[in-house]
Symmetry: C2
Subunit: 154 residues, 2 copies
């Protein structure tokens, strides 16, 4: 399918000819209030560019994988975990998630968090933390507080 | 060189730990008032993500190449040529430039045009139009008007 040369931004976080998709299949992994839009998926490009929006108080899945992420915040605010550190996020901030690094994005309680995410088109599936991984993550009080709201009871 | 996991947006079109670079070598190709910033250049990612800013009244080089571009406008306004068509640009609009397609970005007279551009890390060099290419482009009055300001006298 060819991609339109120009697709207008027609409303907050909405574009012409871009579908709003489920972030993941319900029940596949823990997350809350996240949408996914694939802005560019082109066989001529070795990466995809996606737009994710996390609703106020929502969060992406805590996960890691062999592929890296390059993120540009577009809207709202929140925080993210990358490896051992938690960062405050504001529009246009840049986030880099290296291979096999635990990461999660959380919107502020009162604002969405919208961000672009560049990722290799060919990539591995995310891994979820097991009980041992979660225990190790929780050894860091900052990370324990960050992930407290949604960590599975394990 | 490792990439910082978080780089803040510290001023309009400026980030921590991101250098503002020349767009191209002066004299290498026609352009006016363009800066380039490489936001993500990671061996783990098959694409780079760059930020270009065209000053008011400025323009990128009219060119084509085998690699594709995926663009997300971030700031200001202007117009772009993609193939046979000219599009008005506003923040967050999406532009797709397929392989071997003539393209150029122009800022409005009174506003900058800032945009993200995703591109394969391994790519060919841009080609400039020769006199015959320019004559064919100018057969379309919309394109003739668009490129009139900087076309080389050939």
């Amino acid at each position: 399918m060819s991609i339109d040369p120009h697709r207008a931004h027609v409303a907050p976080s909405r574009w012409d000819a871009v579908d709003v998709l489920a972030y993941k299949q319900e029940g596949a992994a823990p997350f809350r209030d996240v949408t996914r839009q694939v802005l560019f998926d082109d066989p001529e490009l070795a990466c995809q560019l996606r737009y994710f929006e996390v609703g106020p108080g929502g969060h992406t899945t805590l996960e890691r994988h062999e592929h890296a992420h390059a993120v540009v915040v577009q809207r709202g605010g929140g925080r993210c975990l990358v490896g051992e550190r938690v960062f405050d996020l504001a529009p246009l901030d840049l986030v880099h998630v290296p291979a096999m690094t635990w990461h999660q994005f959380r919107a502020a309680p009162d604002a969405p968090l919208g961000f672009l995410c560049m990722v290799n088109a060919v990539r591995d599936r995310p891994q979820l933390p097991d009980a041992g991984d979660l225990a190790r993550l929780r050894d860091n009080p900052d990370i324990a507080a960050f992930i407290a709201a949604d960590a599975p009871a394990s």
